[in-house]
């Protein structure tokens, strides 16, 4: 296990995309063997974890900005009006993920960030709503949280 890990860490250089691909493999090999927190984390390991997260942020950023190639790759149609999420929410402004869950006026029920994301896809964007557990939804969520990091957590706020 240890040898395998250091081999993989040795590859952690070059472009972001290659690093991210390797990092996914690294984390998978950890979870396979239920090794979480059994070994002290090296900076390289922590960096690899971060790369996994940032790859989702990057994908979410592209989806949020309406990138056609990423939508096609992930099999989603987030808008049919030409509008992208970021056109009303530059830098994810006013998505306020730190306010969820809460009562959502538009949906008229207690809702999560994923619920309102789907509402936006379906109503203003006239796109096709996505599964709340889908890779695309997780990536969008990663981007919204990352982009508003440092905001004050205030669940339930209208």
């Amino acid at each position: 296990m240890k040898i395998k890990l250091s081999n993989r860490i040795g590859l952690l250089s070059g472009s972001f995309l290659i690093v991210a691909g390797v990092a996914v493999g690294l984390v998978a090999s950890f979870s396979d063997t239920a090794q979480a927190h059994k070994v002290k984390h090296s900076p390289a390991t922590l960096n690899a974890f971060d790369q996994v997260f940032m790859e989702q942020v990057r994908l979410g950023d592209l989806l949020f900005h309406g990138d056609p190639a990423t939508q096609k790759k992930m099999g989603v149609t987030l808008s049919k009006t030409g509008m992208a999420c970021a056109m009303c929410h530059p830098r994810a402004a006013d998505t306020h993920p730190y306010e969820y869950p809460k009562f959502q006026e538009q949906i008229n029920k207690f809702s999560t960030l994923r619920d309102i994301t789907n509402w936006c896809i379906e109503k203003p964007n006239q796109g096709e709503k996505i599964s709340v557990d889908s890779d695309a939804m997780k990536a969008l969520e990663a981007y919204m949280y990352w982009s508003t990091r440092g905001s004050k957590l205030d669940p339930g706020r209208h």
């Binding site: 972001f16 990057r58 009006t81 030409g82 970021a86 530059p90 306020h96 508003t148 990091r149 440092g150």
Partner: protein, 378 residues
């Protein structure tokens, strides 16, 4: 980036705190909010909004002269039209605004279109815009927005709507139209971008690649200075620009990068009103002797950026399920006194309570720069 923003804020603060320089109080601007019921019944496309009990509110500015003659004009900007068949909602709202302007009684002296007619600067978008503009038969003036420009560097825009900057004198007021969008630092040549890629980076408000694209540039600053050289210091000036002529939020180009030089030129004049688009929201500010009014888009409202000017009464929180909400046009009266009326298609425009304010969540919110457009192949 946050440090740059802080520095910009401190610079702006220095100007704002200058107790000597304020707009001439005898010609202070008043914003009026009044509902025009006749426009609801008079406009076929208003049916959706009217049935919801929403009444139109027009962006109007009255320039009422104490000594001279006053006149009325209308502002429309940020229609962001796509090619035919892509987004009918944007077309409907543009047509509604143009019909209302043509129906103004008494009629406006002119309409100024403040930029972002198109979304991607394409010929079919600008053609659609030209076709819809035929609805307006009064005199039309134009300044470009960044969405009109960066596909072909303004060629199609200027062929249709003429060049800028320009100026004219109207009933005792010097009226100036600036081009604040066509002077971006070259971010495309070294990266060998196609025209579509260049436009794509400009299209994202929160993109990082196009950088500080909003500005007048040296030659236009000189033009402005020369243009005003013979103009009496106490006579009214109205400056139209796509971007605000102060530093509100640089990361979204809610500014011009050379706003301090602009203020140096305008500073000696006691009665200057800047009317701008691009921010898609209700805005009001005073910088030195200049008052600045941000106008509505017809397409969609941008959220308030961090650092809303203290003098702004924010517009209401918008209902994203109603595409006629939070948008509109403007009717202004000109002369010694500029009055602005926002024509937003709803009953209440200005928010008093935090829970109703479009800027209400700003206190909790921290925003960060995007990353995906910095990485290969973007």
């Amino acid at each position: 980036m946050p440090n740059e923003i802080d520095k910009g804020r401190r610079d702006l603060d220095k100007v704002l705190r200058n107790p000597v320089k304020r707009p001439d109080s005898s010609v202070s601007l008043t914003r009026r909010t009044f509902l025009q019921r006749s426009l609801v019944t008079g406009t076929a496309l208003g049916a959706g909004a009217a049935s919801l009990g929403l009444l139109p509110l027009v962006n109007t500015i009255d320039v009422a002269q104490a000594a001279g003659e006053s006149f009325r004009f209308a502002w429309v900007s940020d229609t962001h039209l796509y090619g035919p068949g892509v987004n009918e909602r944007f077309v409907d709202k543009t047509v509604k605004a143009f019909k209302e302007i043509q129906g103004m009684s008494p009629s406006a002296d002119f309409m100024i279109f403040g930029g972002d007619l198109a979304q991607k600067g394409r010929q079919d978008e600008l053609q659609l815009g030209s076709d819809l503009l035929k609805e307006v038969k009064i005199k039309k003036l134009f300044i470009p927005g960044e969405h009109d420009w960066y596909l072909d560097m303004g060629a199609e825009w200027e062929k249709r709507f003429g060049g800028s900057p320009w100026s004219m004198d109207h009933k005792g007021v010097r009226i100036i139209g600036l081009n604040t969008i066509g002077h971006a630092p070259d971010y495309w040549t070294a990266k060998k971008m196609s025209p579509e890629e260049r436009m794509g980076h400009m299209e994202a408000l929160d993109g990082t690649v196009a950088g500080a694209w909003a500005g007048l540039g040296r030659p236009q600053l000189k033009w402005l200075s020369d243009n005003l050289a013979g103009w009496p210091k106490d006579k009214p000036i109205i400056v139209f620009s796509h971007n605000p002529l102060y530093n509100y939020y640089a990361p979204w180009n809610f500014w011009v990068r050379d706003w301090q030089e602009v203020q140096e030129i305008l500073g000696p004049y006691s009665n200057v009103t800047n009317v701008h688009g691009h921010t898609h929201q209700v805005l009001y500010n005073e910088i030195g002797t200049m008052r600045s009014i941000g106008m509505l888009a017809t397409s969609w409202p941008w959220p308030y950026a961090p650092g809303v000017p203290n003098l702004t009464t924010p517009m209401v929180r918008v209902d994203p399920g109603d595409h006629f909400d939070g948008v509109g046009w403007g009717s202004l009266t000109g002369g010694d006194r500029v009055e602005n009326e926002y024509m937003m298609w709803r009953k209440d425009i200005f928010a008093t309570a935090q829970a109703d304010s479009g800027a209400g969540d700003e206190g909790n919110q921290v925003l960060n720069e995007r990353i995906a457009d910095k990485q290969w192949p973007y």
